[in-house]
């Protein structure tokens, strides 16, 4: 079987983002960038399935500017076999991303597509589900356990009420939760080897799909700041403040 894993380059999760003064977005110059964390889980799960012998090939794909290739290189360094970089210098919404990924799926014909459940920059949580709908495939979102069978997958999903188990026929789209696995680090020899693995390049706007953005970003601003609080001297004062000042207990 074959897996396509989609990875996105985002501002590193440990970076405190800064909103631009003119409200046009957030500062990205000289900011540490990394692979979107749950995308690492998607890559890791793909590699584990390959190690189990059930999967023969892993193709890692990213969509973005030239630097986005770093995320594909990282996936190659932990075990993906080859990469695809769909070049685009401008932001594309999840709807457009899903259309591009559908084109890649039609070309590569994987049995499964693995993605992170959500990107930590735009926080949309849409791409995997949209791709599944466009392909008319089933989906398993927020996956925390994947069991691959001959023609299906049994998946445990993290839902608000607890856990849900579903079975989806192949081919299918899986979006990965952080609890699915513990992504491995690439070893230095594997990083060196990854440099020799091929990355095909495509150009997003040449794929013949409508990727025009439909949602216009009018303004980005900082959330309202909390007013500075006070330190209380002891527990009795704390309880008194909560009871008589904040009136919450």
């Amino acid at each position: 079987m074959k897996i396509l894993v989609a990875v996105k380059r985002v501002i590193d999760y440990n970076v405190q983002i800064r909103v631009k003064e003119d409200g046009s977005g957030v500062h990205t110059d000289n900011v540490k960038m990394s692979t979107n964390p749950p995308d690492d889980n998607a890559t890791e799960e793909s590699v584990k399935l390959k190690e189990s012998g059930k999967v023969k090939e892993i193709v890692a794909v990213t969509i973005g500017d030239d630097k986005a290739q770093e995320t594909v290189r990282k996936a190659l360094a932990v075990g993906a076999d080859r990469g695809i970089h769909v070049k685009s210098d401008t932001y594309i919404e999840p709807l457009g991303i899903a259309k591009i990924l559908k084109k890649v799926v039609e070309k590569e014909k994987p049995d499964m597509v693995f993605l992170g459940k959500q990107a930590i920059d735009d926080d949309c949580n849409q791409t995997g589900q949209m791709l599944a709908a466009m392909l008319n495939w089933p989906q398993a979102t927020f996956s925390s356990k994947v069991t691959l069978k001959d023609k299906s997958m049994e998946i445990v999903r993290e839902i608000d009420e607890g856990l849900e188990t579903v079975e989806v026929n192949l081919p299918a789209v899986v979006t990965c939760d952080l609890r699915l696995n513990e992504p491995r680090y690439a070893s230095l020899p594997n990083i060196m080897k990854a440099k020799k693995k091929p990355i095909d390049q495509m150009i997003a706007k040449d794929l013949g799909v409508d990727i025009t953005n439909r949602v216009q970003q009018l303004k980005v601003e900082e959330p309202p700041k909390r007013k500075a609080g006070i330190k209380v001297a002891n527990v009795a004062e704390l309880v008194s403040k909560l009871k008589n000042e904040a009136k919450v207990i």
Partner: protein, 317 residues
């Protein structure tokens, strides 16, 4: 101009967040219709019809909708979306699961996790885990919107009498199967909707010590939360996790105990009305957003806190 809201329920009752979503939908347009898709779900349709803000209920009852598999639910929503300008659902694991399938089928760009409705086409939504707010305008004709339930008040439940229309089911693709759902059982309020949340972090040092948190939570009728560090250390199960990768909570009172205040945790609780931090490290970042900070050893402070609470004549429920 009308809004189709997809109800979340358990085939007996509406889930509480549906009421918050109804409020949000009514801010987009006053003509709010609710789709109840379920199995043996007559009581849910009646409950939705009794909500005064609801003008009509579309009810589709079929075993295919019992477990709201997105592969089955999305074609039904799409089928009945024609007359509506907006399709709305809660941005929880229910709405997040099926709504993008609807948006893709309608070739519309979804607006996720809306915290404010500025106009029928303009919304405010958090990005970067709530570290920035984006105001966005949707230029699609038909708009799929998910709303963050805790940003809207629940709609009043009774007094309405909307018409209930039975609607046709849609074809199902038959390529996914529900197997089971294991709901986390708790005597305490649900983390996402509790009025008070008491959370513990790595400072608790062990799972057993979470008893100190539980005792306070029981006294205050609060939900129990945790930082990712405490969950990763195995002190408590991950359904208690508050933060960027866990639950986002907006209680009246959030008490953070032994939590330093990593960016990822703050993203899940900093909109709480009142924040209390108890930490022995006076420099911990959590103090910078706390309304009331207590620099103290939690193993001394929590038992004291409980005994002070026991002295109070009344505690709000």
């Amino acid at each position: 101009m009308s809004v189709l809201l997809i109800a979340e329920h358990n085939n007996k009752n509406l889930k509480p967040f549906t009421l918050n979503a109804i409020t949000a939908a009514s801010k987009i347009d006053s003509e709010v219709h609710v789709l109840v898709a379920g199995s043996g779900s007559e009581s849910v349709a009646k409950e939705a019809a009794a909500v005064p803000l609801v003008k009509k209920v579309l009810h589709c009852d079929s075993p295919n909708y019992q477990n709201y598999l997105p592969e089955n639910l999305a074609p039904l929503v799409t089928k009945h979306s024609e007359k509506y300008d907006h399709i709305v659902a809660s941005a929880n694991t229910f709405g997040k699961n099926f709504m993008p399938r609807v948006a893709a089928a309608l070739d519309t760009s979804q607006v996720s996790d809306v915290i404010k409705v500025k106009s029928p086409d303009t919304f405010v939504r958090p990005i970067y885990a709530g570290n920035a707010f984006a105001t966005v305008k949707s230029n699609d004709k038909k708009r799929c919107v998910t709303i963050r339930p805790t940003s809207f008040e629940p709609a009043p439940k009774t007094g309405g009498s909307a018409q209930i229309d039975k609607v046709d089911a849609a074809d199902i693709p038959n390529f996914s199967k529900f197997i089971k759902r294991e709901e986390t059982k708790s005597e305490r309020p649900e983390l996402g909707t509790a009025r008070i949340v008491v959370s513990g972090g790595r400072g608790l040092e062990s799972g057993e010590n979470f008893k100190l948190i539980n005792d306070i939570a029981d006294k205050l009728n609060a939900a129990v939360g945790a930082s990712r560090a405490a969950v990763d250390a195995g002190y408590i199960s991950n359904d208690h996790q508050v933060g960027q990768t866990g639950k986002v909570v907006v209680p009246d009172l959030y008490i953070a105990v032994g939590i330093s205040g990593a960016i990822q945790h703050l993203a899940g609780m900093k909109e709480s009305k009142i924040i209390v931090a108890i930490n022995k490290d006076g420099e911990a970042p959590i103090f910078s957003i706390a309304d009331y900070g207590l620099e103290a050893d939690l193993f001394k402070a929590l038992p004291e806190f409980l005994s002070e609470l026991n002295k109070l004549n009344t505690i709000q429920k």
